[in-house]
Amino acid sequence: MEKELKALKTLADCQAFHAKYLGKSGEITKQLQGLKDIEPSKRATRGAELNILRRETEEKLFKIQHDIEAAEANAKLMNDPLIDVTNPLTYTARPSGPGVTPGGLHPITQVIREVEEIFAGMGFIIEDGPEIATEYECFDALNCPQEHPARDMQDTFWLSDGRCLRTQTSAWQNHMMKKYGPEFRAICPGRVFRNEALDARHENTFFQCEGMMIGKDISIANLIYFMKAALTAVFKKDINIRLRPGYFPFVEPGFELDASCVFCKSGEHCPVCKSSGWVEFCGCGMIHPNVLREGGIDPTKYQGFAFGFGITRLAMLKYDLNDCRWFNSGNLEFLQGGTK
């Protein structure tokens, strides 16, 4: 049978083979029908063997048929005229005129650009890290040792080679310190991944922006200054910020940063801040001495702050969207946007 399978060259061959072995009166089918005459003690084993044989033969035949079909389709396509792309005169003009949708940047790109411009204007380097991180970059270098409960706080997508999809842009902190340290300021916007079920407020793939500033006398007062300046520029309104204690292993002290709500209208319930006047905006803090040390920076000489905020969340606030799934939906009607 194996030999016959190898000899199949056309679809007609395949059909003949199918009839011979697998069809209504094919050999395998007949043997299966004959099971009832076999001694009951052997019936189960023989039946299982035959069923496996039938399935395997079907699969092999299917693959051969598929290859033949593909080859035939390819042969047909070979009759198509060759489009000589090496010839610069072979050119189709970009469609234009009324009714043609112009191109555009993804809304997330537009928000990232805005953030980048603000921080670049304040002298920050705009860094850009990979999406696959080692366990060291994502956890160990960030003061989360193996047994640290913080590893539970994030649902990590682990890869078959032991690395992971970065759960936070903080995974690039160690690299930034080694590349630019000890005194620098940089942000690193990028895509991060969390193993979560999707709903209107949760995506497994979203964007964050990491920021770091390290120097000889960088203080909490400086952190507040930069965040206030950046948020004021992002929202184009004077923003107040406040810090609350927050726990992130890679900073000490760690803060949750709230921004004054720009959406509140007097006298109405505000769905964004639930009328509290404050919107939780990001986690931040003074970089933990262990994190500095891992980055090759002496924590007795240098100190600094780090922050990480959600670009996707910022985009939702900016565009007044209540479902984060639109960004990765590939829905062009959404992505092309409209005018207000």
Partner: protein, 739 residues
């Protein structure tokens, strides 16, 4: 975690402070509060007294009562077993109906009907001093409470906040109020009693203490205790179990009780005996072969509890327990977490042990428990001394902080005597180092010293959070101004995106990093089965967008992997026209193409596909995607020069002041133009100023050469020379001049 305001008030008087202030100040100083809930009696009930009570003949449960609310008498039918004349209880006038032939007005209430417990066997028994006719909240003030919910995630680093007393300590510090000492019964001055044998046989147990109590007769938990537990989502079960939970919620020390009728010899060790099977209270079965790394509490050698997580089915106390042994221990945080996570059991106890508890809590919790036992059950008394072993006792930590450094770190000038007062309120022992006052010596209390506060930065946090983050004035830093070179990779992406969107009219899209096309790198714990390969190309994702939207002009710049390990950044483009796609890439990168190398690749048109070359180097491919009938490009943009995107990176030179000449040549060639182009790219002649393709007709290619010089006007000989050299060069390269 839920916290009762009544309970807190037992330790710190929060009178006169608005709950909203408590929520906001606690959130700003300590940890996030998710919200609060006001608890009130579920029914509008008053205190009544039972005046008469007789069994109803037609019912085996009902009694017929006459009650009074002080103003009026009512007849009520009631099924509770504890009805009797003279009893004061709670009653709500919910209307009149007929029960077993008796007219009954309103109802006498049990704790469950008032919403303060789950127990409903009997009606409330009020103290004889209760004022008849008064609202029930006056007789049972604890029925009204405010329950605050703290975000668990925000206190993972604070083992001391996993009990009411710790929260009370924070609030005492925040509002400058006094923290009352916990009332306890000393167990260290009853040394004459025998020991309960306890033994530590594994490092995973840091400390292990036990005390035996005899003559426990109380079965029903006091109503106030029931209400507190119930409001915090713990259903009352019976006095001893409730007391055990109560102690955990009060001081944060999980504990376990064992029946003390027969001899108890406790030990903590890893693993089970061969063939031994341990079944948890919830019925989970643990066999010896899976238990090697798990810590158990054993009584007379047999496992009775999974240490720090859950008791076993046969260990515990029951309704008949009169003598009990209480265990207070500290277990390794990592091991507790690992075992609990491995078995998928998370309990209130394991949640606390995972945070690294203070071993000194053992005795404190034991002394508090004996105090409460005695308070509610006068006959109960200790039957053993405090029996205690430890391998790793939590000790206070001494730290020195540099005051000038702290001020620089925070950007604040502090008044140090205020700081010392706040730290003291939290249990720290700060001492200014005199005479210079440039350092503060701080002793960290044991409940903060397990891992939370171990270095200077941790003390700074305590200083600045109790000082108030809102008092810090934003300040720009002083920095050296230096030119900043933005990383090339980022600049490239920005320029490409601008060109693609604005010049070529393409829409940017984002797609997921995983795909259903097999690759060597897989997400091993994906929730999206079958779509768990890390993509090697953007193409399939872009085609799926075309499938959803129909024909479109889209691009994505995103990450892919090759060889199952190296991450690259790709540009993928999808447009309807293959010829346009080629011209986009020519404009973007000055790309050239080599046709037909992807003939065998699935999905690609066998003829209309090409390798994309930038500066002679293959960087990707383009082709017609057969089943969607769109053109697709996949380019690895790592290493491309951002300055050259879309015609950038040009050089500029003054044009020659002498006249240039244009010479046309038509060559016949049975092949693609790219061959001719790459041939003539190598043509060298001093007068050659470049060439372009002017026209193609039927395998005839017309090339226009520009010839000229910077030094002179060309003579007829000059032109003839280059004319013949071009023709000859063509001939050598297989190009016949068309006559």
């Amino acid at each position: 975690m839920k916290i009762s305001l009544n309970w807190l008030n037992e330790f710190v008087n929060l009178g006169g402070i608005d709950i909203r202030d408590i929520v906001s100040r606690f959130s700003l100083t300590t940890a996030e509060i998710e919200g609060y809930e006001i608890k009130k009696p579920k029914l509008d009930a008053v205190v009544v007294e039972i005046l008469t009570c007789e069994k109803v003949a037609t019912s085996n449960k009902l009694s017929k009562l006459t009650i009074t609310d002080g103003k009026k008498k009512y007849q009520v039918a009631c099924a509770a077993p504890n009805v009797r004349v003279g009893l004061k209880t709670a009653w709500a006038n919910v209307g009149t109906k007929v029960l077993a032939g008796i007219e009954s007005t309103g109802m006498c209430l049990g704790a469950d009907e008032l919403g303060m417990s789950n127990l409903h066997e009997s009606i409330i028994e009020l103290d004889s001093s209760a004022k008849v006719g008064a609202p029930i909240a006056e007789a049972l003030p604890f029925i009204c409470d405010t329950i605050i919910e703290i975000d668990n995630k925000s206190i993972t680093n604070r083992p001391d906040l996993w009990g009411h007393y710790g929260i009370a300590r924070e609030l005492a510090c925040i509002f400058d109020r006094e923290l009352k000492p916990l009332k306890k019964t000393s167990l260290t001055d009853i040394a004459l009693l025998p020991e309960v044998p306890v033994k530590i046989e594994s490092d995973l147990c840091q400390s292990f203490g036990a005390v035996k109590v005899k003559n426990i007769t109380r079965k029903v938990t006091p109503l106030e205790m029931q209400a507190r537990l119930f409001y915090l989502d713990i259903n009352p079960h019976g006095f001893l179990v409730d007391l055990s939970n109560y102690i955990m919620l009060e001081v944060g020390q999980p504990n376990h009780a064992y029946d003390g009728a027969s001899s108890v010899r406790l030990s903590a060790s890893k693993g089970l005996r061969d063939g031994e099977v341990f079944t948890t209270l919830k019925g989970q079965v643990i066999k010896a072969d899976m238990a090697e790394e798990m810590l158990f509490i054993k009584n007379n050698g047999s496992a009775v509890a999974l240490a720090g997580i859950m008791g076993g089915q046969e260990s515990g106390i029951n309704a008949d327990t009169i003598d009990a042994v209480f265990e207070f221990a500290t277990f390794d945080s990592g091991s507790t977490r690992k075992t609990a996570a491995g078995l998928g059991i998370r309990t209130d106890a394991s949640a606390r042990f995972e945070k690294s508890l203070d071993t000194n809590l053992n005795l404190l919790a034991a002394e508090r428990m004996v105090y409460l036992l005695n308070k509610y059950d006068k006959k109960a008394s200790p039957a053993s001394k405090w029996s205690y072993k430890t391998t790793r006792e939590t000790k206070p930590i001494a730290l020195r902080v540099d005051t000038a450094y702290v001020e620089k770190f925070c950007g604040v000038k502090f008044i140090w005597k205020d700081i010392i007062k706040k730290l003291t309120a939290l249990g720290f022992e700060p001492t200014m180092v005199f005479p210079s006052a440039d350092a503060l010596d701080v002793v960290v209390p044991t409940w903060r010293a397990t891992k939370d506060v171990t270095m200077q930065a941790d003390i700074i946090e305590e200083i600045v959070r109790t000082y108030g983050y809102d008092k810090i004035v934003p300040m720009p830093p002083r920095v050296d101004v230096e030119p900043i070179a933005q990383p090339v990779k980022k600049v490239l992406v920005n320029r490409l995106k601008d060109a693609l969107a604005n010049v070529h009219g393409l829409q940017e899209v984002h797609t997921y990093i995983w795909s259903d096309t097999p690759s060597k790198l897989k997400v091993i714990n994906s929730c999206i089965k079958g779509c768990d390969y890390v993509r090697e190309a953007l193409g399939p994702s872009l085609l799926s967008i075309i499938a959803k939207n129909g024909q479109a002009r889209i691009f994505e710049i995103g990450q892919v992997v090759s060889n199952g390990k190296d991450e690259h950044r790709h540009l993928g483009i999808c447009v309807p026209s293959y010829a346009e796609l080629a011209s986009i890439l020519r404009a973007l990168f000055g790309a050239k193409f080599k046709i037909g190398e992807f003939a065998g690749v699935a999905g690609f048109h066998p003829k209309n596909n090409a390798t994309v070359l930038v500066d002679g180097k293959a960087v990707g491919c383009i082709g017609v995607a057969v089943d969607k009938d769109v053109a697709i490009a996949e380019i690895n943009i790592d290493g491309l020069d951002p300055t050259r995107v879309n015609g950038g990176g040009k050089t500029f030179a003054a044009p020659s002041k002498y006249q240039k000449n244009h010479l046309d040549f038509t060559f016949e060639y049975d092949g693609v133009y790219g061959d001719i182009e790459s041939a003539f790219d190598k043509f060298k002649h001093p007068l050659n100023m470049g060439f372009r393709l002017k026209d193609v007709y039927n395998k005839s290619y017309t090339l226009e050469f520009t010839v000229g010089s910077y030094e002179k006007t060309l003579t007829a000989e000059d032109i003839n020379d280059i004319w013949s050299k071009i023709i000859e060069f063509g001939r050598k390269n297989g190009l016949t001049l068309k006559q």
